[in-house]
């Protein structure tokens, strides 16, 4: 019979996890995984997963991508022991998915709400906490913290059956975290959520991964979700693996170069066009002013409404990560925290941070020159600046001709004033 972890066990576990993350065996491994669904007469009808080889390493956010019916949920259900493979091998934490001993370390958010409709939010979380045999005081503390995290503290007395889909999803996420899992499996986590909920979940995934070293397996067909948070992705189609690799590597388009500058006059743009044409005999494909994303605009509006304390029977904005989730991070938490804060400050784009009308900052000419002249030295900076980057797999900077950029940087003195 499994028991809740003691603090000593947690500390020992998290310490061991950090030290051996690179050498540690994969959290999830499938070899030649195949799942065939049969009809009533046991005739094979649908090959949902076909010869899938996957390896999810400790501490990474792994995305399973694919259109509807591509085998994402089937793969997840096999990993959870809800389905059995027709062929191939599966190991989660080095054991069979049906092994009850590993369930203590897994949190699962299914693609729909499978919660008891007659329980309220607090009872729901308490019930799932009991299944992990968490001690009562610990359970109560976690329930309250999770309710705060998902913004349902004020609605905790309502039955889950009365919740909107998004609210039920939030409670589903909270129950997936009640045991402070090492592996978090999220099946279409943002389905039915409003943009704020979506942003929170993405933020949460990043936080859990960065601050607490949680391994996250995320399945979605919403590409923006995956792109924003996943370190590695696997694209499935027809049950087969179509692409597998580092997200940034897969998404980078090496045949194009993108330059983002402050607002330029049409004459300047023309000069740039001519420089590019003269130097490399290439065309500028598009020049446009980027607009704010609707998601960011929406979040800002709702946040303002919350600050005005406008009443709502729906979910509130939610709080930060519950304290207990950090319990397994152990004594290395400060180091990770400092790294995260450094990454945050470095990742914040300068134009967004500056209020409109304020003096524009000087172009970081030295930095760009350094990047151009010594491409191999870009690695540490890039690793810190981009939250999607993993330390184990640094992405090489996109190739660029230094002379072109130098020519662009040699701006006339009058433009610096504007």
């Amino acid at each position: 019979m499994s028991r809740a972890w003691t603090d000593e066990q947690r500390t020992a576990h998290s310490g061991a996890l950090k030290v051996s993350k690179q050498q540690a065996p994969p959290v999830v491994q499938t070899v030649g995984l195949t799942k065939i669904f049969r009809d009533f007469w046991y005739r094979p009808r649908v090959k949902a997963v076909d010869n899938l080889d996957l390896e999810i390493r400790p501490g990474e956010v792994f995305g399973l991508l694919g259109p509807n019916g591509s085998g994402k949920s089937t793969t997840i259900k096999i990993l959870l022991g809800l389905l059995y493979p027709t062929r191939g091998r599966v190991a989660v934490f080095g054991r069979a998915p049906t092994d009850v001993a590993i369930k203590d370390r897994i949190g699962y958010l299914p693609e729909e709400s499978y919660l008891y409709r007659f329980l309220d939010a607090r009872e729901t979380l308490d019930y799932y906490g009991r299944l992990f045999q968490l001690p009562r005081p610990d359970r109560r503390r976690r329930v309250e913290e999770l309710l705060r995290m998902v913004g349902l503290e004020r609605e905790a007395r309502r039955r889950v059956g009365e919740y909107s889909k998004g609210m039920a999803r939030r409670i589903g996420l909270a129950q997936a975290l009640i045991n402070d899992p090492d592996l978090l499996i999220l099946d279409e986590p943002t389905t039915g959520l409003d943009p704020i909920g979506t942003a929170q979940i993405k933020e949460l995934i990043v936080e859990l991964n960065r601050r607490h070293g949680k391994t996250v397996l995320l399945s979605s067909h919403l590409l923006a979700d995956v792109e924003d948070v996943c370190t590695r992705i696997c694209i499935l189609y027809g049950g087969r693996q179509q692409a597998l690799g580092n997200t940034k590597e897969l998404l980078s388009r090496r045949e194009l170069t993108q330059i983002t500058a402050e607002k330029l006059e049409p004459a300047t743009i023309e000069r740039i066009r001519s420089v590019i044409a003269e130097s490399e005999n290439k065309r500028v494909l598009s020049v446009s002013a980027p607009s704010d994303r609707l998601e960011a605009f929406f979040i800002r509006i709702v946040r303002e409404a919350e600050q005005r304390r406008q009443t709502t029977s729906g979910a509130a904005g939610g709080g930060g990560l519950p304290g207990f989730l950090g319990a397994r991070a152990g004594e290395g938490g400060d180091v990770i925290e400092s790294l995260v804060s450094a990454a945050r400050s470095a990742a914040t784009p300068a134009p967004e941070a500056a209020p409109s009308g304020a003096p524009a900052p000087q172009p970081e000419r030295a930095v760009i020159e350094q990047l151009v002249s010594r491409p191999e030295s870009a690695e540490p900076s890039s690793a810190v600046a981009d939250r999607r980057e993993t330390p184990t797999a640094p992405t090489p900077p996109p190739p660029a001709d230094p002379s072109v950029i130098e020519a662009l940087l040699a701006k006339p003195p009058d433009e610096d004033k504007g």
Binding site: F37, L83, V100, Y108, P110, Y114, L131, Q133
Partner: protein, 445 residues
């Protein structure tokens, strides 16, 4: 849970209604109380059985159908524990309902007892034949004597040349069976015109020093009936040779009904044997205590009504234990409607098991009708197989015993535990194995 609520409400409405509407034979208080006990206990037993099956089948299949199980099965809970939890939940609810409904029936029966009886005999019947716990000993032919009689008959037939010395086994078997039946019938029949037959009830647990009363309950088989439809008999109860108390009674009992002769416990001998000699005073009709509608039985008090009632409820609970395990087993691999139908089928076969046994015994023996041979063989094998697999629920039905004020003994209770609770455990283990092996997110395309 809505099903449970409907059943509970129906029981809560019907049980009190029965107490005030049932009239029995319209005359005696005894028959009114007996009919109330019979209807209410049967109804409670039937409703709780159905409720248990519905709950067991629906609770598990509902979890699977609505996919609630997806969030349970990924938690560190072995599936057998989940099933055990389901079973325990149903059993706790059953226990509560059984105590509630049983208490209500007991209370109403006690209330009915306070109503005025028709006469002293009625009052005596209520006290001594309903609100009591009596042991019953049925009159059975002495097997040793019958077997000796059969051998003697065979020898005589062979001496007379009506049966070969070395007959073929089938003929010999048939001849033996015929003679056995003949001798049994003869033993249980009192010849007419002053014919006498002596019967013995043995191994009685009676304190012969007490003022306890013994009841001899009997009814003649309907084959032969006196012209005036009244049996005229003389009874000599007790053994003068063993110096027990001897009672001589003259009875005039209506044919076709059970009649009771009451004798003191002092008539029983020291070795616990009661001798009953009956003289048939009818000139033409033989009084036969045979068949389903005839027979003789000795009843004597063993304990009180209260504890007997509790043991009867325990017997019912054993049935519910079995049905809950059965429903969970069925729903561990079947959907709700199919699991429900399968469980109900087993339930009704179990209830009709006594009838099924009798039907098998009464089917034509193999070889008697060659045209029906294969069909007969198949049906026999099927029926015998079902009888082996499905426990006899009718044998665990305490209602007739409670209505007649008979004791629900601990041996009976023990046998029921062996017959129902042990198989329930086996069913539970089987359900756990199946449920553990089952793909909970399976899709049949």
């Amino acid at each position: 849970m809505k099903i449970a609520l409907v059943f509970i409400i129906v029981l809560l409405v019907i049980l009190p209604a029965l107490a005030f509407t049932v009239r029995g034979d319209g005359v005696t208080l005894k028959s009114r109380i007996q009919m109330f006990l019979s209807f209410s206990l049967s109804l409670m037993q039937f409703f709780l059985s159905l409720l248990t099956i519905f709950l067991a089948c629906s609770s598990l299949s509902h979890e699977v159908r609505e996919k609630f199980i997806h969030l349970i099965a990924v938690k560190p809970i072995p599936r057998w524990q989940f099933l055990t939890g389901k079973w325990l939940g149903i059993m706790v609810l059953d226990a509560a309902l059984l105590v509630g409904c049983g208490g209500m029936i007991y209370g109403f029966a006690r209330y009915l007892k306070t109503l005025p009886p028709v006469n002293e005999l009625d009052a005596y019947g209520v006290e001594q034949e309903v609100f009591t716990a009596r042991a019953g000993v049925k009159l059975k032919p002495p097997e040793a004597e019958i077997a000796a009689g059969v051998e003697a008959a065979i020898r005589q037939l062979q001496q007379e040349g009506r049966l070969p010395v070395n007959p073929d086994p089938e003929l010999e078997q048939r001849t033996r069976e015929e003679n056995r039946r003949r001798l049994q019938t003869e033993y249980l029949t009192v010849p007419p015109a002053g014919g006498v037959r002596v019967y013995y009830f043995r191994d009685l647990l009676v304190n012969r020093e007490s003022d306890q009363v013994l009841y001899i309950r009997y009814r003649g088989a309907p084959g032969q009936v006196p012209q005036d439809e009244i049996w005229h008999t003389q009874w000599l109860v007790g053994d003068p040779e063993l110096r027990t108390r001897v009672v001589l009674l003259e009875q005039k009992d209506p044919a076709g009904r059970y009649s009771t002769v009451m004798v003191p416990a002092a008539c029983v001998s020291e070795d616990g044997t009661l001798r009953v000699a009956i003289r048939n005073l009818d000139g033409y009709a033989a009084l036969a205590f045979t068949g389903d509608e005839g027979g003789m039985e000795l009843l004597y008090q063993l304990g009180g009504f209260g504890w007997n009632f509790v043991r009867a409820l325990a017997l019912t609970y054993c049935r519910l234990v079995f049905l809950a395990a059965l429903g969970l087993l069925m729903s561990s691999f079947l959907s709700f409607p199919v699991a429900c139908m399968a469980s109900l089928l087993v339930f009704f076969i179990g209830i009709a098991s006594g009838f099924l046994t009798e039907a098998i015994e009464n089917t034509a023996p193999l070889g008697e009708s060659p045209a029906l041979g294969p069909l007969n063989l198949t049906l026999r094998m099927l029926a015998t197989g079902i009888r082996w697999v499905v426990p006899n629920l009718s044998a665990c039905d305490p209602v007739p015993a409670i209505v007649d004020g008979r004791a629900v003994g601990l041996i009976w209770l023990g046998n029921t535990v062996v017959q129902l609770v042990v198989p329930a455990f086996v069913l539970g283990v089987l359900a756990s194995v199946i449920f553990t092996k089952r793909e909970l997110a399976q899709v049949i395309v």
